[in-house]
Symmetry: C2
Subunit: 95 residues, 2 copies
């Protein structure tokens, strides 16, 4: 599934709720999901980890929807097959 398609699916499912909640509330919710991903990683629960990864990308797409950002376009603009800093693939940055 394209990143854009996933974002559109999130819009279809949740935009009516996301737009009411607003940017600040949705960002905070994404933060909660990020925290839950950290907990699942700590206990090495692969099933739970997979679900938390799904939630993080889902809330990231929701946040992108209410801020008018096309996540796929944003991703490809910055990461177009080369590291945006050193312009190499694989990345050769030395820091």
């Amino acid at each position: 599934m394209h990143i854009h398609e996933f974002q559109e699916m999130m819009k279809q499912l949740y935009f009516h709720r996301d737009s009411k909640r607003g940017v600040k509330g949705t960002y905070e919710w994404l933060g909660d999901e990020f925290g839950e991903l950290g907990k699942a990683l700590k206990v090495s629960d692969k099933e739970a980890t997979e679900k938390e990864f799904a939630d993080v990308i889902a809330w990231l797409a929701s946040l992108a929807n209410i801020t008018g950002i096309d996540l796929e376009r944003a991703a490809i603009r910055k990461y177009n097959g080369k590291c945006p800093k050193c312009k190499q693939s694989p990345c050769q940055c030395t820091f």
Copy 2:
């Protein structure tokens, strides 16, 4: 671009660095990017916001790579066109 393709591109670019840094360090870096996204949203800088969205999905893909999670599979398993809680589209959850 498919979510899976983007994750593969991140692997090609950064896996040699990500795998050395490890899960904890990569999760922390993702947290930093999440914070930067919050700052860009606060000042309503669309260009910066787009770049920060790109960084968050990039680091999420990097974290998925070193934990052996297929981000696209995870996303589709949980969000397959219906809300995973109420099973409706659009979501009809009342909480």
